[in-house]
């Protein structure tokens, strides 16, 4: 048996360490055990205590600079449920447009700049840092096709920049919008802004339809074995996103789950429990629903190996992400694997961009975008939405008009979670099991599996912390 450690896992957001055991099973060298852990702690929930509830929108966006708009959305929905206010239609639509722009940005960034280098041999095309040093395996796309894809990598840099430029028209600036507030959006609707937004959206739709989706299909055709690799837990969860009415009665991508091969059109937040048996928290921090969440670290806890908790729905492991959303919405049900995640992400990008064009037509120039509300003396709130990488929930308790408790469960907490109290692995760990590894010195297969989840570690970690021990320089043993 060989142990492989990849630390740092690069081309993701944040600090992730992957350790797997590889052995020969049925003549194939493959992963037989896997652990993922994160290596950075900030303590946002602790810092948020006693602050003005409205500040949560500014603060929580800084949990993650790749998906800040999703935290802005989750926190404003959270505050609106606590304040008892709903945004006017204009405000709701503006927020959807800014969130949609960030989805497009994130999905393009993920495929071209984070994931694609696992599939393309850039040797002879761009021979300098940061594209060297790198793994080069014989199955990678090379030659003319690689040149075209590298060209699209460069073009995609411009496209993702323009996605942010588009979102900033109603979001003021990106990353980290400053226009999302409980009750709507501070930005107003003008014909000129609609026109500017439309111009950029048209260009982006052209890129998504003609280049992004096409490239994904091309890569999928060349790596068909990855429809069988990285299948994971097989259960999916989505809170749904892009409210089509203020009360959240319908969404572009619906709420639901796929559990034990059955589709359910509901998610009851009361059925979510965070487990900590293998997380470095006191036992009292575990077995709790998020609205009562506690996070008290215990560095030397026996058998614990991660600082991410294990959120479970009805005690069952679920995967979050674009594939979960598209599956539950009925838009994509080919299968669950590395390539299915990548394909569903591209098709979702296309779907969201198309919908945004329609939303622009629903805006009413001159009509209000914001509804005033007071901070309640005491209240509880919940905000469920989606980040580009999956289901995102914020919970809060207000006391004396200040934040008493703030809890966040991010998509990467679902996906990168360690084993739960029942011994079930988290989705990324489970997806790594059975992954063939041809060359332990260049375990590119592991990166392909991990990258397909588009993990965001800064998001996932309530409290990620000391490793406990120093493991030296050696990473492949």
């Amino acid at each position: 048996m060989i142990k492989i450690r990849i630390d740092p896992v690069t081309r993701i957001e944040g600090h992730l360490d992957i350790e797997v055991s590889v052995d020969n099973v049925d003549g194939i060298q493959q992963v037989i055990d896997a652990k993922s852990s994160a290596t950075m702690f900030r303590g946002f929930e602790i810092i948020l205590k006693e602050r003005d509830p409205r500040d949560a929108t500014i603060y929580t966006q800084r949990i993650c600079g790749v998906c800040p708009v999703s935290h802005a959305m989750a926190s404003t929905l959270n505050l609106e449920s606590a304040f008892g206010v709903l945004p006017p239609d204009n405000g709701r639509i503006l927020r959807n447009l800014v969130l949609g722009a960030n989805f497009i940005m994130s999905h393009i960034l993920h495929f071209y700049h984070l994931a694609a280098l696992d599939y393309i041999n850039t040797e002879g095309i761009v021979d300098k840092s940061p594209w060297l040093p790198r793994y080069i395996t014989t199955d990678m796309v090379a030659g003319d096709t690689a040149e075209v894809l590298v060209g699209h990598y460069v073009q995609a840099l411009e496209m993702r920049r323009k996605s942010h430029q588009m979102g900033a028209i109603f979001g003021a600036k990106l990353p980290c919008t400053s226009t999302f507030v409980p009750g709507g959006c501070t930005e107003v609707v003008t014909a000129e802004k609609i026109s500017d937004f439309t111009t950029l959206l048209s260009e982006l739709r052209g890129f998504i339809d003609n280049i992004y989706v096409t490239d994904v299909l091309a890569v999928a055709g060349l790596f068909e074995e990855y429809y069988q690799i990285g299948q994971g837990c097989g259960n999916l969860i989505a809170y749904g996103v892009f409210d089509l009415d203020a009360a959240g009665g319908s969404r572009l991508l619906s709420r639901g789950r796929y559990t034990n091969e059955t589709i359910y059109d509901d998610v009851d937040p009361a059925q979510i429990t965070e487990y900590v048996k293998f997380s470095r928290y006191t036992p009292g921090s575990g077995n709790l629903p998020p609205e009562d969440g506690e996070t008290e670290p215990q560095i030397d806890k026996p058998n614990a190996y991660s600082w991410i908790k294990s959120p479970r729905y009805q005690d069952i492991v679920h995967e979050a992400g674009p594939l979960a959303r598209m599956w539950i919405n009925g838009d994509y049900r080919r299968g669950i694997s590395v390539l299915d995640r990548i394909a569903a992400r591209a098709l979702e990008c296309q779907k969201v961009a198309e919908a945004m064009e329609g939303w622009l037509l629903e805006l009413d120039v001159g009509e209000p975008t914001y509804e005033y509300s007071e901070i309640p003396e005491s209240a509880t709130g919940i905000g469920l939405t989606e980040a580009p990488r999956g289901a995102l929930g914020h919970w809060m308790e207000i006391s004396d008009s200040k934040i008493y408790r703030y809890q966040v469960i991010t998509p990467t907490a679902w996906n990168a979670s360690p084993r739960d109290d029942f011994g079930n692995r988290g989705p990324i760990e489970e997806a790594l099991i059975g992954t063939p590894v041809k060359d332990v010195e260049q375990p590119i297969e592991l990166l392909r599996v991990v990258h397909s989840f588009d993990p965001c570690i800064a998001c996932a970690v309530h409290l990620v912390s000391p490793e406990g021990q120093s493991l030296g320089k050696y990473r492949v043993s």
Binding site: R5, D7, F41, G65, G124, I125, S129, T186
Partner: protein, 308 residues
């Protein structure tokens, strides 16, 4: 299509125009960039959110991100964009260290509690240790974003990890602070261009910020100043027309060129009024050492929760 170093005049013109450079400065930049291999850059991420890196990708004005990465610098280590992972990535950083003379960029704060163990960059190496070590052989040190420059949100009361800014860790060398939450890409790229052209740091203010970007207050160039503030027209509620001072706007004491530079634009004013106040939201004071505790609670004139 083979990507290689190209002619530099295309963007040198933009740099020169924007920075008021002399022709000799331009020639110097060309000579530096024409040499085999660009200036090495090591980009370390401590307790950050990658927002400043994402912001850097939005670079447009001085040069686009592909110009920067392909033709201008050698980005030897940056965990979010580099192709290599694990051992290969760490070796790239170690090689840069051995070769010396790189530009060290730090994004995110540095936790000092528990001997720095709240943030590991790779096995056995904490952010604290890495910043201490890599600063030794750096030609320049840039603290990008308010977390790296001043501690930022991570160091907000009660600062559970005892997070500090880069200058607290690197005491013997100059640290160029490029705050902002996130930092504007022009502030990052413009500063790097200045270093390459002039071979020295730009003039800094008392907080270590390049004066060329952070010299004046947001208020001094805010279009709402003449239009509303000077006529005592104040918005009482979000969404109202008027100066946002009474809604907690920090523009009067926050130094940054946002009102002129704007955000997410190819050129100032392109595609709308994209900056916080342009979006009718108060300035959040994100380029100041007191962010967040001195400026929050936001949206109110109430006294800050914590006196700074």
């Amino acid at each position: 299509m083979i990507i290689k170093r190209r002619e530099f005049m295309k963007y040198c013109g933009a740099v020169a125009g924007a920075m008021g450079l002399s022709v000799s400065g331009l020639i110097k930049l060309q000579n530096i960039l024409a040499a085999e291999g660009g200036p090495p850059v090591v980009w370390l991420q401590g307790q950050g959110c990658t927002g400043c890196s994402v912001s850097l990708l939005n670079s447009m004005y001085y040069m686009t991100i592909d110009e920067l990465l392909i033709n201008t610098i050698d980005l030897e280590f940056h965990a979010t964009v580099m192709a290599g992972a694990g051992d290969l990535a760490v070796e790239a950083a170690e090689d840069a260290y051995e070769n010396e003379g790189y530009i060290l960029v730090v994004e995110g704060a540095i936790p000092t509690a528990e001997n720095g163990e709240y943030c590991y960059l790779w096995p056995g190496t904490t952010a604290l240790h890495a910043v201490e070590t890599f600063s030794e052989k750096a030609a320049y040190i840039l603290a990008v974003g308010t977390c790296a420059a001043f501690g930022g949100l991570v160091a907000g009361e009660p600062n559970p990890t005892e997070a500090v800014d880069v200058s607290k860790v690197v005491s013997k060398k100059q640290v160029i602070n490029i705050p902002g939450c996130p930092a504007h890409p022009d502030w990052i790229v413009g500063t790097i261009a200045h270093l390459l052209i002039n071979g020295k740091a730009p003039a800094l203010d008392q907080y270590g910020r390049p004066q060329m970007f952070y010299r004046k207050t947001v208020h001094s160039a805010c279009p709402n100043k003449q239009k509303f503030h000077d006529k005592a027209i104040f918005a009482q509620q979000l969404g109202e027309e008027g100066c946002l001072f009474k809604l907690g706007c920090a523009g009067t004491w926050t130094q940054a060129d946002c009102p002129i530079r704007k955000w997410n634009s190819g050129a100032a004013g392109e595609f709308g009024d994209t900056w916080c106040i342009g979006g009718r939201n108060p300035c959040q004071g994100c380029t100041e050492p007191g962010f967040p505790d001195r400026v929050s609670p936001w949206y109110t004139l109430e006294l800050p929760k914590v006196s700074v």
